[in-house]
């Protein structure tokens, strides 16, 4: 079982967002970066599948600047066998990034290529399915369960009002959602071992893409609200407001 995991380096989800000087990206000063939380489900799934198969290889791949090497080391510390740093500047266009990843993955002989369901910075929710399409292999997105048996993957995913079950042959691309598993924390031994694991650097050119970031802004400030009344007697007014004015019910 040979498995690749595509990993993105993102700001910690507790980060307070400050818009940078250009008005199109965040100010990274003092921001802590972590592996994309959804990619941790992919890492965990890959490590567990290889362990269960008793043979194979897990490879973590990240496209980005040199700082992604730190993120790759975290994946190695979790137990991934080796890492590939695709050295280049990611595009705002998910398809441009997907092309670079697909190009690298296509001859790798992978049974599975795993992604996070989304990156918590750009909320793109697209790179995994795009890579699958470019590779011409089956794809299931946002999976919450996975069983691999007899060269096939059986998955479930949450859809509105239910859980959808699907299956496909390997090789396949899967994108992972919360609920798939509980990602392990790197152990001290893992962190030591990670320092010696191979991390290959492959310079790449990311194509121009078709997306221009016009602006990044903070959401509008809140206007003062209103007190609807006192006690349980005010509940109907609240439910009416939530239903017809705010439209959140």
């Amino acid at each position: 079982m040979k498995i690749a995991i595509c990993l993105r380096r993102v700001p910690d989800t507790t980060t307070k967002i400050v818009v940078g000087a250009g008005g199109t990206a965040i100010d990274e000063t003092g921001v802590k970066f972590v592996p994309n939380p959804y990619d941790e489900y992919a890492l965990e799934a890959a490590i567990a599948l290889k362990d269960a198969a008793g043979a194979g290889e897990t490879v973590v791949v990240a496209l980005g600047g040199d700082a992604v090497q730190e993120t790759l080391r975290t994946a190695l510390a979790m137990g991934v066998d080796r890492a590939v740093h695709l050295q280049g500047t990611p595009s705002a266009d998910g398809l441009a990034n997907a092309r670079v990843l697909a190009d690298h993955l296509k001859d790798g002989g992978y049974d599975l290529v795993l992604f996070g369901k989304l990156a918590v910075d750009d909320y793109g929710q697209q790179v995994g399915a795009m890579v699958a399409e470019l590779l011409g292999v089956p794809c299931a997105t946002a999976i919450t369960s996975l069983a691999v048996e007899g060269g096939r993957a059986k998955v479930t995913r949450e859809v509105e009002g239910g859980v959808e079950a699907a299956e496909c042959a390997l090789p396949a691309v899967l994108t992972c959602d919360k609920g798939l598993n509980t990602p392990r924390l790197p152990s001290l031994k893992g962190i030591m071992a990670a320092k010696k694991k191979p991390l290959d650097i492959v310079p790449v050119t990311v194509p121009a893409g078709q997306v221009t970031v016009v602006s990044l802004a903070l959401p509008p400030e809140r206007a003062a609200g209103k007190i609807l009344g006192e006690g349980a007697a005010a509940v109907p007014a609240l439910v009416a407001a939530l239903t017809s004015d705010a439209k959140v019910l």
Partner: protein, 320 residues
């Protein structure tokens, strides 16, 4: 002049709700582009709701019929759309299924994908989209060149009455290779949601009085039908009433749900730091001067033990 294609979602032979909203977005964009709106319906037979699409803004309704469409069949939809020819933009509702379909289609067309957008418009030669990023903590505006695939967030557009022709035309489903086999949909499982991801957060503070009173909030969350999570102030997390994962605020999680209901939370500045970008904030507190009311869209002053059960019942009823 460029036309807009709206790819509509159906399940079990009926259009999913949201078709009219998506057509409203498509109509607006097509009018800006000086083009018309085609609505594509892929079904294994006749699809209920198709007849109303003209009234909601479709100039033409394209129906593609294939046995594969008895379940979600992404490769078949991609092949069908590719067979239709050129559009200025392709719109899809950003539902679980739409979010799966949009990037597949974009990659197959060599197009950019604007995901989960709250507004879409024509901007010069490009399609401009506005979308929340960083869990709603920031708003991004993008210009997409070419023929982008745009997934429109449910609820972002209100349905319109447009009285268009809505003439139905059958289109063929080109040959496709089914790679993913969807085998069925079963009733939802109840997994506990993360406060940072839930559409609705019901947060409790010291006003709950005792840890076991969080049950009241769990009941309220459950009334929202699996899309709500229970959050908390630091005071109660530090007191050990609930796990740290639930803490909202400066030293907890930053959340931006559509609805945040603060129950017995005073609204300290450190708490507000974590939730002030929620779309709608509701506060329930017995102190009418509590700072939480300054950021709340709607407030009820009074005893939470009386208000919360009444609210739970009313929400459950409204959700039916």
């Amino acid at each position: 002049m460029a036309n807009v294609l709206a790819v509509l979602e159906q399940r079990n032979g009926a259009l999913r709700k949201g078709a009219a909203e998506l057509l409203a977005a498509a109509r607006q964009l097509a009018d800006q582009l000086g083009g018309s709106v085609d609505a594509l319906v892929c079904g294994s037979g006749a699809v209920a709701g198709t007849e109303s699409l003209g009234a909601h803004g479709a100039d033409r309704v394209l129906t593609a019929t294939d046995a594969a469409f008895a379940q979600y069949a992404p490769e078949a939809i991609v092949a069908t759309v590719k067979g239709l020819g050129a559009y200025g933009a392709v719109l899809i509702a950003a539902t679980a299924t739409g979010k799966d379909l949009a990037p597949r289609l974009a990659a197959a067309m060599g197009a950019a994908c604007g995901m989960d957008v709250t507004a879409v418009s024509a901007a010069g030669g490009a399609i401009r989209v506005v979308r929340p990023v960083y869990a709603g903590k920031a708003i991004q505006t993008l210009d997409l060149a070419g023929t982008p695939v745009v997934a429109v967030r449910p609820g972002a557009y209100a349905a319109v009455q447009a009285g268009k022709a809505g003439a139905v035309e059958a289109v063929t489903v080109p040959a496709f290779s089914a790679r993913l086999m969807v085998t069925g949909i079963t009733a939802p499982e109840r997994a506990s949601l993360d406060v940072a991801e839930a559409r609705v957060v019901v947060a409790g503070g010291r006003g709950l009085g005792e840890p076991q009173h969080f049950a009241l909030l769990e009941q309220l969350a459950a009334a929202f039908g699996g899309e709500a999570a229970v959050g908390a102030s630091r005071a109660v997390v530090d007191a050990g009433w609930i796990g740290h994962g639930a803490q909202v605020g400066q030293t907890g999680k930053t959340v931006a749900p559509e609805l945040y209901i603060a129950v017995g939370v005073s609204g300290a500045i450190q708490h507000l730091a974590g939730m002030r970008t929620a779309k709608v904030i509701v506060a329930i507190n017995r102190d009418k001067d509590a700072p939480i009311f300054k950021v709340a869209d709607y407030g009820i002053v009074g005893d939470l033990f009386e208000i919360v059960p009444a609210l739970t019942e009313a929400v459950a009823k409204a959700k039916q």
